[in-house]
């Protein structure tokens, strides 16, 4: 599991990670499935895969069944380099407003970056909006943020992005 080097060495669990695909069309659907698992896994990531059709596959601690026609997607997920982490060490603690230093201390996130500007300062404030989805990059778990109203940073990914043809 070199892929999850930083997490598996520091994560609470050392369980094996396996790939699974249920053909979820969106990350929200995949997140929903992951978050409904009982018992909760210690690590779960989503992966955008193109084959056999564009969808969201999952890598997760524990073993789950994948339909034969989606097996290649499950395999792609477990060997994927850009996992988007849904559950990881400390993910449940990343709520409310935290400093960057606190995020790094209480979770498996190794770097907090500001989109287009490089690393955030330890003292910068992150308003987690109770939705934190860092991504693995070169084996490191990185949370990309953007500046937001009130002088805080917010995670790049928002829980409810504007849909394609929003009723705005």
């Amino acid at each position: 599991m070199t892929l999850y080097r930083s997490v598996s060495t520091s994560a609470v669990s050392t369980s094996a990670v396996s790939g699974v695909s249920l053909g979820h069309r969106t990350t929200a659907e995949a997140d929903h499935w992951i978050l409904s698992l009982d018992p909760a896994p210690s690590l779960a990531c989503t992966h955008l895969v193109q084959s056999p059709f564009p969808h969201v596959a999952i890598s997760v601690t524990g073993a789950f069944e994948t339909a034969p026609e989606l097996q290649e997607a499950a395999d792609a997920a477990v060997s994927g380099k850009f996992g988007r982490a849904v559950i990881f060490r400390g993910s449940a603690e990343l709520t409310g407003t935290l400093t960057v230093a606190e995020v790094l201390k209480i979770s498996a996130i190794e770097r907090v970056e500001i989109l287009g500007s490089g690393p955030a300062d330890d003292a910068d404030i992150v308003d987690t909006r109770d939705f934190v989805r860092p991504q693995f990059r070169s084996g490191d778990l990185v949370l990309t943020t953007t500046p937001a109203a009130g002088g805080v940073l917010v995670p790049f990914e928002t829980r409810e992005p504007t849909p394609c043809c929003a009723d705005h």
Partner: protein, 572 residues
């Protein structure tokens, strides 16, 4: 083809829609053509189907490509050399009405606001959908015709917002004619992504997009309409317009697919709460999905100084197209659906699915502080250099790339030309979108005459231009990897500080003696929000800044962008 040359690449002539008539080859003078070819050339020229703007690549000028030592592209050649002054007509190619399921205004509501806010032309672009294809595309036409009658000094085009199969949305519009509805309806029914089988593969959908663009060109060649244009809308919003798709659209028919939005609409969406929506400028708040092009970085999903990442990044995707020699232009627009601070709502008892429209809007007295859009003309302008006031002239100017854009009326007017050094005659110089061809070794220069703003914009202040950047990139010819989205040789080569209080800025920048083919484009800003460009400070020291989520005052961050001018060796 009338020009002889050695090559080993395919001769498909796709860019000419399969038309290999000598009429297309401007290296053959009119005097050597058959009478029927002269007539055909005249028609094609009149239809805007000749010229660099209509070619897949400016390198389609064979002598230019050979002189530059680059393989030339095939397609209609020449042109793009209109000189002298133009009548600059401001417009908006992306406007929704009550015939869109997520909008509410009448055609005339949008048109008269656009006209009042200074526009000369507007395009009505309701969403392609089952209801629109069946009902709306026809029903909106009498409303548009009535608006044309009512406001003769406003050019009101009918178009639609195409769900490009496998990709984002695009403005598609045609010149007015008795066939305008028939062409648009047939196009929508056959090629709209929402009306195609859900079982289509990505490859099938990408092919359908290409076929749709070719269909539009075929309707012009069949003389059913005088012109049809395609502009890709909010291209980086969800990461689903891959670089190769954009290239494929252009190459499918370069007389139709001419560009994309340099900046999205919805520019009010980032105005901070409680006075505004407090969202993301342009509604650019998405993240990668399974349909996204995997190579796009997270930076591409947000706006930078209100502009789309593809355009805002110096040396980025747009520049990678220009560096290929692909004539590809940028625009801005309102994408107006529901407008900031308006006080109306959809008419009561509407049944959109049955009627193809919402009932006429009603005044409510409630101020829409959470609406994310501006009325057409209120904020963004696409300024087109036209030879006259008319529908075809606007389309021809857009196709030729004689276009500059601004937000918040940052400047009043702009005349940018590339000249052979020292030649200051008023009727010479190559305008935006054009190709300036000179002998290798000849000195050229960029001249900019900028009328600085001296009247207030629609936020009641007079914008002040602080800096003008000149951006230059070498033209290196077609790329091997059609998913390329960087142009490593493009950068800001000069920045001019503008003196406060001046009425006019007359700037000259020497482009040196011509060695390699290149292009030049220009950008300006009020200087209020900048940061080093995404490809580094050596490429763009004072680029546009990432817009702040929930706190992006559009009036406090103004930019203008021009389209490029190409400079090529003539080889003679």
């Amino acid at each position: 083809m009338g020009h002889g040359h050695d090559h080993d690449h395919d001769h498909t002539h796709e860019s000419a829609g399969g038309d290999v008539s000598p009429a297309l080859d401007l290296s053959i003078p009119d005097s050597e053509l058959s009478p029927s070819d002269v007539s055909r050339r005249g028609f094609l020229r009149g239809a805007g189907l000749l010229g660099a703007g209509a070619a897949a690549s400016v390198l389609a000028v064979p002598s230019a490509a050979q002189a530059a030592g680059l393989p030339h592209s095939h397609g209609p050649v020449g042109g793009g050399s209109d000189k002298g002054g133009f009548r600059w007509l401001a417009g908006d190619h992306h406007i929704h009405t009550q015939y869109s399921s997520d909008a509410q205004y009448r055609v005339i509501d949008q048109a008269r606001h656009g006209r009042a806010f200074g526009l000369d032309w507007v395009v009505i672009t309701d969403h392609g959908s089952v209801a629109h294809a069946k009902i709306g595309v026809e029903k909106v036409n009498p409303d548009i015709r009535k608006t044309r009658e009512e406001y003769k000094d406003l050019l009101t085009f009918q178009g639609l917002e195409w769900n490009i199969p496998a990709a984002e949305h695009a403005t598609v519009f045609v010149t007015p004619s008795r066939n305008e509805v028939e062409v648009l309806k047939q196009f929508e029914n056959n090629y709209d992504g929402n009306l195609l089988p859900a079982t289509n593969t990505t490859a099938q959908n990408e092919a359908a997009a290409i076929a749709g663009i070719k269909f539009l060109g075929s309707q012009v060649r069949a003389r059913k309409i005088d012109g049809a244009l395609f502009l890709a809308n909010h291209p980086a919003r969800r990461g689903i317009d891959s670089p190769h798709e954009i290239r494929n659209w252009r190459d499918a028919d370069p007389s139709v697919a001419v560009g994309f939005e340099g900046a999205p609409g919805h520019q009010a969406a980032g105005i901070p709460a409680p006075n505004g929506r407090g969202g993301a400028r342009g509604y650019y708040d998405n993240n990668p999905s399974a349909a996204s092009f995997p190579g796009y970085p997270l930076e591409s999903y947000r706006t930078w100084g209100g502009f789309d990442w593809m355009t805002a990044t110096v040396g980025g995707l747009w520049d990678s197209l220009l560096a290929e020699g692909k004539a590809w232009w940028i625009t801005v627009n309102s994408d107006s659906h529901v407008n900031y601070l308006d006080q109306s709502d959809r008419g009561p008892d509407s049944n959109f699915d049955v009627n193809g429209k919402y009932n006429d809007p009603v005044y409510t007295g409630k101020t829409l502080t959470t609406a994310g859009d501006f009325w057409p003309g209120f904020y963004g302008r696409t300024n087109v250099g036209a030879t006259s006031f008319g529908y075809k002239a606007v389309m021809d100017g857009l196709r030729a790339g004689r276009v500059w854009v601004d937000h918040g009326r940052l400047i009043k007017g702009l005349d940018a030309r590339v000249r052979t050094s020292g030649d200051r005659r008023p009727f010479t110089g190559t305008p935006l979108g054009g190709v300036h061809q000179v002998r290798r070794g000849t000195s050229t220069e960029l001249t900019l005459e900028i009328d600085l703003q001296d009247v207030p914009n629609w936020a009641q202040f007079v914008p002040v231009l602080k800096r003008v950047d000149v951006i230059v990139g070498t033209i290196t010819g077609p790329v091997k990897d059609r998913d390329t989205f960087q142009a490593p040789d493009t950068k800001v080569v000069k920045s001019f500080e503008i003196n406060a209080g001046a009425k006019k800025a007359s700037l000259t920048f020497s482009l040196g003696r011509l060695d390699k083919p290149f292009y030049v484009r220009v950008r300006g800003t009020d200087g209020k929000r900048t940061q080093p460009g995404l490809l580094g400070a050596t490429v763009d020291p004072f680029g546009p800044k990432l817009d702040v989520s929930g706190d992006a005052d559009p009036w406090g961050d103004l930019w203008f962008y021009t389209n490029p001018i190409f400079v090529l060796p003539s080889g003679r």
